[in-house]
């Protein structure tokens, strides 16, 4: 009796794992298919660029406040922590380099992507999910208007365009925050702060690589948000779960991609 109960429980567990694996694989395939179709039907996003620009406003411009405020505090904390460590080695003038490199290489693209997933990504998922729930996407289909070309692609390109701009702004405002703490507050030399930064931050290796990272994060975060909305079950619970999944999957994807990209960029 006990043996047979154990047997049934093992079979159930294996069946559960198998079913979850099939579902995940199916979703991965469906996501890849949507990504491919988005690229195929992207022509309209550029021909009627106002459609994309409108989305740049709602995803990019509307995310500006949270990005700028966060960047300012991140820069200030970086300067405080950096100074605390650097002064022990008598190299507190290197604070500018530390702040700039941390922001441009890592924190700028990564924190921006995480904030973007929380602010713009959830908004995209909820909007597309609700459009599906209220049959707006079906209505578009029935009017012979392709929703991927009209709704998905402009939002995708808006995310891809917005992310590097937001990440660059994040780094700039973060450096400003770091400067305000390091120079006027702590008393690090003004000239040393900027000249060390200028001498040690490489345009191609640091800045361009940071921008490349943020473009990749833009593609990943926006596509995940769009797919979760497009694939959401048309119910209130379905949209709510999809929104949560957007944040979780985007955050994990950004961190994993960051590791992969960094290892390639540093040629480890």
């Amino acid at each position: 009796m006990i043996k047979s109960t154990l047997h049934i429980s093992i079979i159930r567990t294996l069946r559960g794992i198998g079913s979850r694996m099939i579902e995940r694989t199916w979703r991965l395939g469906a996501g890849a298919r949507l990504f491919f179709l988005t690229l195929v039907y992207s022509g309209e996003s550029f021909r009627r660029f106002n459609l994309t620009l409108r989305e740049v406003y709602s995803t990019g411009v509307m995310s500006l406040l949270i990005i700028i405020v966060s960047a300012f505090f991140v820069g200030m904390v970086l300067a405080l922590q950096g100074y605390n460590t650097l002064q022990k080695y008598g190299s507190s003038e290197a604070i500018g380099v530390l702040v700039a490199l941390s922001l441009v290489r890592e924190l700028g693209p990564v924190v921006t992507a995480l904030l973007f997933a929380g602010r713009a990504g959830t908004a995209i998922t909820a909007e597309i999910g609700l459009m599906k729930t209220t049959e707006q996407l079906s209505a578009m289909e029935m009017m012979a208007v392709n929703p991927i070309a009209r709704v998905i692609a402009p939002r995708f390109w808006a995310g891809v365009i917005s992310m590097p701009i937001l990440a660059s702004l994040f780094s700039m405002v973060g450096i400003l925050g770091g400067y305000l703490v390091a120079v006027p507050l702590i008393g690090v030399d003004d000239g040393a702060f900027w000249s060390q930064m200028q001498a040690n931050v490489d345009f191609r290796l640091d800045i361009v690589n940071g921008v490349i990272k943020s473009i990749v994060f833009g593609v990943a975060c926006t596509m995940i948000a769009l797919f979760e909305g497009y694939d959401a079950p048309p119910t209130a619970e379905g949209v709510s779960r999809a929104t949560t999944r957007t944040v979780v999957i985007s955050s994990l994807t950004v961190l994993a991609l960051d590791f992969i990209l960094t290892s390639f960029m540093l040629e480890v």
């Binding site: 609700l130 209220t134 049959e135 707006q136 079906s138 209505a139 289909e141 029935m142 009017m143 012979a144 208007v145 392709n146 009209r150």
Partner: protein, 269 residues
Amino acid sequence: MTPNIVEIDNLSFGYKGRVLHKGINMVFPRGKVVAIMGGSGSGKTTLLRLIGGQIRPSKGEVRVDGDVVHKQDRDGIYKLRRKMGMLFQHGALFTDLSVFDNVAFPMRELTDLPESMIRDLVLMKLNAVGLRGAHALMPTELSGGMARRVALARAIALDPNIIMYDEPFAGLDPITMGVICDLIRTLNDALGTTSIIVSHDVKETFMIADYVYFVANGEVVAEGTPDDLMQSTLPFVHQFVHGEKDGPVPFHYAAKNYQSELLGRVSVK
């Protein structure tokens, strides 16, 4: 030109192991108002989706203007859909666009008409449904009945040959119901279109339909003019038309033995 604009021939459809339609045959003559009636979950809306090519039948075919819908590629289906307009149950208006922009949407997306002409056409369509004065409102500012009328104006924006109505009377007050009823018939006759109405509101549908199909258990169980069906002695039609609680469609959903379940001998799972 075929006499019937839509023909459904021996159509079967099912999903997830559930058979929804079993060999359905229907014809929709040009210029007529034809209703498909049946209980909730009988697959009426699915029939509209099959006509619109949103899903494919498992057997049989749907022909629109002589073309088999499921044999078309994406461009072919879009070409067929340009002959159709559809009114969704809750309107499905685009919530980020005003009433004017909602009606203008198909014109801007599918034609190269100049904006001045689009403006005139939109105002004419809105005037036809009595909402020209509401052109600047947003969908959230409309009542259910007004939203349905705006959606109707959008459905007729490009003067389609077929207009499909999915539960056009559901959840409306009697006055609005009368308005929508009148609009469907008037627009059908004025524009020379064919109207396909999916509904379970007997009184309103019988008032405007030329011909009615009754669908139950995946089959067409009765068909005829509203007068014929009012006189029908078929048990299902009689129960449906007179709104009787019990009959061929049972009051109780299939369940385990009541006594055993109450006494806890059967698991309630």
